[in-house]
Amino acid sequence: MPRLGLWPPIALQVTVALLGAAALPALAWDAAVMQSAARKLGPAAVAALPPLQALLGRMEAADDRERLQAVNRFFNQRIAFATDQSVWDQEDYWASPLEALAKGQGDCEDYAIAKYASLLAVGVAPARLRLVYVRARMPAGTVPASQAHMVLAYHANPGDEPLILDNLVPEVLPASARPDLTPLFSFSADGLWHGTGSVSAGDPLARVTRWREVWNKTRAEGFL
């Protein structure tokens, strides 16, 4: 399967126009790399790959709203919520998209990361996407009443009210429609590493944060 970068120039121009930032690297995904990464993770990952690739292929030509809806729905359906303790037998584990799909289970940041990587792969501008730490107020009667949570936010323009992609509420809704979430802090792949865009995998800095770790893992799975 060809990469997006090899598609006819018209499609590329459209993509660049959509992004509005020509300085950003061309984003795409690599089916062959994904395939070999999935083989390493086991038969479950290989089985989960065709639907994912079909989705990504479909979404390359779609607009952002359509992409958000489809990607959000895809991962909310494929991954069942479970704690890191039960899935990975660890207090806190940030899984890559293929790892989460292979398990079919994951917690809030696994959803957010998988959606984030997929949207970037199909061509959504990185500046519009942010991963947000939020406090989620749980339905009445639940204990505890609120808990730490992570969602993916989409800003059509900087400073605008974002659309929220979440696993608690399956629909993509504007932030104002989510009174149960209180944002605490947000970051993005480019935001954290502004000014050090050429950080290589061998750089000792690249391996010191949990975010950077999962991001490298994701890129190695073919989400470029």
Binding site: R130, V132, A153, H155, P158, G159, D160, E161, P162, A175, P183, L184, F185, S186, F187, S188, G191, L192, H194, G195, T196, P204, L205, V208
Partner: protein, 645 residues
């Protein structure tokens, strides 16, 4: 070589020191830079997190940021709104670094500012940038760099010291090996001590075994020469000297004024032809050998006595003292005639001789003895006659001493000049024996055949020796030779006597004279007689060393009597060997002579020395000398072809 190794070592150590210092400092710089970058980023993230909790209240945000900035180690903190407007900024001048400026410029530290997004609810407010103080990086680097440099320098000095010690240890065996090699080159054979270093030990062992083989080679050659000498000088049947040798010894003895007088006896085996016919060849040889044994008994008993076979039937016996000849002749005759064959009347002997020989020529002495023998033969008994007194006016020893001393004091001495030439006929040097003027009894210069009274050494040398005048005589000759060289630049050769060499202070007296005429000294040769080696080898070595250092060539004259003695000269370090006339004269006609002379020459050449033939009085012998490989020759038949002389 050692110094070059040291320099190389120091350079390598310095390069290693600088290299490791540079790598170490770069690594430290990179680590510190990374730390600074992490710190910037962590501080920005933490502060952005705090500011995001202020719900967009800019005043509260600035207060929180100011508090963080004022209490922390920051250089710059700035908050920029999404529209690019700078909301607030804090700056703090760089703390002045303690590291020198060149160091800071050589190692720039560039850590990008930390960035983090500040939010109000779901909206992004802006970006926070944080830069930490970085002057401490250079200070830390500088301190670490200085410490490391000091440590590495100490290590380098230690390593250099160790290497120097090791090299010193290696230098000694190396030097001894080199010395051995140089000794071999200059013809001395030294056995070196085997060093502990394996490579050098192998080398030294091989060189030692080579030296031993060479030595063996020389020894066997010397032995061969000795055999050849016996064959050349002695009669095969009787083992006695041949006529030529016997006559030579006789002439030497008669010419030596130091000997009071000699006796010469001749023994003749009468009618040898008839005896030969009757007894046969083998028995005759045995008879001749038995006769020789009787003579040899005297040679062994009387020191200085010489026996020889003069021709088929004649034998000669030279007695070193006078007054015993008659008695000896009678006992000889008795002993010979007591043999079984003689008592049976098969053979008979005649004995005759002369007594009190001094100063005559050998042939005159032989003729006189022959006459006596003839008389003895006629009278059937041993006849010994007294020889006429030889030297014309032999004065007393005391008067000789006075004459020589006076001549030396008044400078009535001069040098004879006899050329020594090389193969091309060019002059090697002039042999310069001293002539001393003797005055007549009335103190006037004598006239007539003797000329102006200057007499050759042959006439007064023994008296000078007995009077212990030799050091003065030799120094006088040396002075004259140096003076003459200064005038005409022609190389000259003077003789020193063994007595002079043994005299205390003589060697250094010569050295001080040579030092005063250094350019002349380089044209001078000094020689001594071969027998000098028996007396004082240490003195000879010292003399040769001291004089050769000043450019003088040192040689041995009248050499060749024994091959063993000849091989000893390589340790004394002389330059040339003059082979005595008796080993050279007749070389043209006598094969045995030639064989011995050739072996002498090859032995001398093997020692790395020059061989010069003495006493060449026959042009045929001169040609023979060149054929034999002599490097030089002297004697009556020698003429310099160079027109300058």
């Amino acid at each position: 070589m050692t110094r070059r190794i040291m320099l190389l070592l120091a350079a390598v150590l310095l390069a290693a020191l600088l290299g490791s210092l540079w790598i170490h400092t770069l690594a430290a710089r990179d680590a510190l830079q990374t730390q600074l970058e992490l710190r910037n980023q962590d501080a920005a993230t933490a502060l952005a997190l705090s500011l995001s909790q202020q719900d967009g209240d800019l005043a509260a945000m600035e207060t929180v940021a100011a508090a963080q900035f004022d209490l922390g180690h920051y250089r710059r903190l700035v908050f920029i709104q999404l529209d690019g407007k700078k909301i607030f900024e804090r700056q703090h001048a760089l703390n002045p670094p303690t590291a020198p400026q060149w160091f800071i410029q050589a190692l720039p530290v560039q850590a990008p500012p930390g960035r983090a997004t500040v939010m109000q609810a779901w909206r992004e407010l802006g970006v926070l940038q944080v830069e930490s103080q970085s002057s401490w990086v250079h200070d830390t680097l500088w301190a670490a760099c200085s410490r490391t440099a000091a440590l590495l320098l100490a290590l380098a000095v230690l390593a250099l010291g160790l290497s120097v010690a090791l090299l010193r240890g290696w230098q000694r065996p190396l030097a001894s090996t080199v010395a051995q090699a140089q000794a071999i080159e200059s013809g001395r054979f030294v056995i070196a001590e085997e060093p502990a270093m394996p490579e050098l030990r192998h080398l030294t062992r091989s060189m030692n075994s080579m030296v031993r083989r060479l030595r063996q080679l020389f020894d066997s050659q010397a032995e061969q020469v000795a055999t050849l000498q016996r064959q050349a000088q002695t009669d095969g049947v009787t083992g006695l000297l041949l006529r030529r040798q016997f006559v030579g010894r006789l002439a030497d003895r008669l010419a030596n004024p130091d000997v009071p007088g000699s006796g010469l006896l001749l023994v003749r085996l009468l009618r040898l032809d008839t005896v030969n016919e009757r007894l046969g060849f083998a028995a005759t040889d045995r008879l001749l050998a038995a006769t020789a044994d009787v003579l040899s008994a005297y040679v062994q008993r009387v020191p200085g006595a010489v026996a020889g076979r003069l021709n088929g039937s004649d034998f000669g016996l030279l007695l070193p003292v006078t007054g015993v000849s008659t008695e000896t002749a009678h006992s000889l005759a008795a002993a010979l005639n007591a043999s079984p064959l003689a008592t049976a009347g098969a053979v008979s002997y005649a004995v005759g001789g002369v007594e009190g020989l001094l100063g005559q020529s050998a042939s005159a002495a032989l003729a006189a003895a022959d006459l006596a023998l003839a008389r003895g033969e006629a009278s059937q008994c041993a006849v010994v006659e007294a020889a006429g007194v030889a030297a014309a006016d032999m004065v007393g020893a005391r008067s000789w001493r006075l004459q020589i001393t006076a001549a030396l004091d008044e400078g009535r001495v001069r040098l004879g000049e006899f050329p020594v030439i090389d193969r091309a006929g060019q002059l090697i040097h002039l042999e310069c024996p001293l002539r001393v003027q003797f005055l007549a009894a009335d103190g006037t210069v004598p006239e007539g055949a003797g000329g102006d009274g200057y007499r050759p050494a042959r006439e007064w040398l023994a008296l000078a020796m007995r009077s212990r005048l030799m050091p003065r005589v030799d120094l006088a000759a040396l002075d004259l030779a140096l003076k003459a060289i200064n005038i005409d630049g022609v190389p000259r050769c003077v003789h020193v006597a063994q007595d002079s060499l043994d005299a205390p202070g003589f060697v250094s007296d010569v050295v001080s004279r040579l030092s005063l005429a250094q350019s002349a000294a380089r044209q001078l040769s000094i020689e001594w007689v071969e027998t000098a080696n028996n007396a004082s080898p240490t003195v000879l070595r010292e003399a040769a060393n001291a004089w050769r250092t000043l450019g003088v060539k040192v040689g041995v004259e009248h050499a060749g009597a024994s091959a063993q003695t000849l091989t000893q000269w390589h340790s004394t370090r002389v330059d040339f060997i003059k082979v005595d006339a008796r080993h050279v004269q007749g070389a043209a006609s006598d094969n045995a002579m030639r064989g011995y002379a050739a072996s002498l020459v090859s032995l001398v050449h093997g020692l790395g020395l020059k061989a010069i033939a003495e006493g060449i009085n026959d042009p045929a012998d001169l040609d023979a000398a060149w054929d034999l490989g002599f490097d030089g020759a002297t004697g009556p038949a020698v003429r310099v072809t160079d027109s300058e002389r």
